[in-house]
Amino acid sequence: MEQPAYQNPLRTGAIRPAELLPWLAAGSGFFLFPDYLQLGAQILIMVLFAMSLDMILGYAGIVSLGHAALFGTGAYTAGILSAHVGWSEPLSGLVIAGLVAGVVGFVCGAVILYTRGLTLLMLTLAVTILLQELANEQEHWTGGDDGLQGVVMEPLFGVFEFDLYGQTAYLYALAVLFVMFLAARAIVNSSFGQSLRGIRENERRMHAIGCPVYRQMLRAYTIAAVMAGVAGALLAQTTEFVALDVLSFERSGDVMIMLILGGTGRLYGAFIGAPLYMILQDQLAKLSPEYWLFGIGALLVATILYAPEGMLGLTERLRAWATREDS
């Protein structure tokens, strides 16, 4: 007699071979594209950022247009620590930035998670723009429109300098992403993660089975905030600069689009969507910004209409279809 498995095979907590692919790709990228490591590091950072959005959007079903608020908080915390406080040790800076973003996320979440739908959308949006206006106004601390200059990073572990080619940056971002991914993976596969999926699938039923829905959502929001803050801090540290657009509404939109393109509620969607988006952007925007905008718009519309579960959902469907043909 076979022991009945708990979940369908796609969502089980056991490690599948395919899960190694993105890490192999990221690892070999280091050797294959030595001239693109700066871009590569930024892609890895956006993967982390998109993954944190997946925690709340893909798992808990919270549609936020303000995730950049947390990314930006992390970026400015790390940047200001170095530029103004003189705290330039990267790892501790990363931790502090994550914690600050977590606190901000907790406070914001505590307020906005009482609402739903359009109101929640507008509140998340308003908070981001408010923070951006604030950052713009506090020029002394943030450099305002010109961005925060003077961020300097000490060598990682006191040994590895942040070099011009981005080698250290790339490996640093990859390592942090990996650690964060392991944590996120454990969390979404835990009972807590299951409960979040329940909230996304049917909030009314979760109330009816006695789930403290608000508290669960707030927990998820805070965890995602820490991850977003770490992503922002990584960007500040690896580029040694913080631009005002870390807090922009556009960044919130970008990261959501990346996640949707890859597929929500899978963690790995971020690993597909972010590179796809950023490489397309890099290539198309060279031709002309309009091409890029039109292309991404069309891709988005097509995704929603024909592959609402993103690239990953599409491959899953194709695979299911192929195996059915076989048998």
Binding site: L57, V63, L121, L123, L125, V127, I129, E290, V301, I304
Partner: protein, 286 residues
């Protein structure tokens, strides 16, 4: 001092009226179908561009340009509604958000291609230039014109909403969709109709408001937030709510930019947050 207060009130009112005309359609359609249409700002923008083109390229008189823009935008919106929007009714709001954002991106690209990235001016005829004397003070003629036209539209809207069968149906459907369906109202058809009307109004506001809001391809995103605030703060599907929210937003934004320009849009977002926390469903909740 008094002078600047009057100016702010006047400019704020003109801005508020444009906001209202553009946003009211969004409010009603969102109230009706719960469809989060982020492309609404694009309809306003298209209204502006099309009106400008008619006036410039085809020599259409100014007062005819805007209505032509409305008709064109209404047609475009119905085509989009029938082919794309329809497929996501009753679906989740995230998909609606993303589909319409995708449309906005494409719209921005097309407008940049057709009209260029720079600000396009609406050529105001000479009789609307300069200032008018309203007895106690002189005001810019064009903005006075905007306010007067808006008042006319509001009266028309109020009449249509409160006194016609169509308006009664819309009110009933916004209020309680299931009930409306059981008394034989065809929600889909009603929605298409109001959607077209709402888009036409957006186009009108877009055309009239270029003098205040400017007209660049990024308009569709830049002002979208304002329109959404009006809808959220006013309450979905509420004309009165949209009107009150437009007034508050228009005046606060104008005053904020006048007195504390360094803070940019800080105040309206602060006010938005406060109002939404005070009334999460908006002023006039269903």
């Amino acid at each position: 001092m008094i002078n600047s207060l009057v100016s702010i009130a006047f400019d704020g009112l003109a801005f508020a009226m444009v906001l209202f005309i553009i946003s009211v359609g969004l409010s009603v359609t969102m109230g009706l179908m719960g469809f989060v249409n982020l492309a609404h700002g694009m309809f306003a923008m298209l209204g502006g561009y099309i009106a400008v083109s008619f006036i410039r390229e085809f020599g259409v008189p100014f007062l005819l340009g805007a209505p032509l823009g409305c008709v064109a935008v209404a047609l475009i919106s119905v085509v989009l509604e029938r082919t794309l929007y329809r497929r996501l009714y009753g679906g989740d709001e995230l998909q609606q958000v993303l589909l319409t954002i995708g449309l906005v991106f494409m719209g921005i690209a097309v407008c940049t291609f057709l009209w260029g990235p720079l600000n396009v001016q609406l050529d105001v005829p000479s009789y609307l230039k300069g200032q008018v004397d309203l007895g106690f003070r002189r005001f810019p003629t064009y903005r006075t014109f905007i306010i007067l036209v808006s008042f006319a539209v509001i009266i028309g809207l109020w009449y249509g909403f409160e006194r016609t069968l169509l308006g009664a149906k819309v009110r009933a459907a916004v209020d309680n969709q299931r009930m409306a369906e059981t008394v034989g109202i065809n929600i889909r058809r009603l929605f298409t109709l109001t959607f077209a009307l709402g888009s036409a109004l957006a186009a009108l506001g877009g055309a009239l408001g270029t003098e205040i809001l400017g007209l660049t391809p990024t308009y569709a995103l830049e002002y979208l937030v304002y329109f959404l605030i009006v809808v959220a703060v006013g309450g979905l599907g509420s004309l009165r709510g949209a009107f009150a929210a437009s007034l508050i937003l228009g005046v606060v934004d104008t005053a904020g930019k006048y007195y504390l320009p360094a803070f940019g849009a800080f105040f309206i977002f602060a006010v938005t947050i406060i109002l939404l926390l005070w009334r999460p469903q908006g002023f006039y909740a269903r």
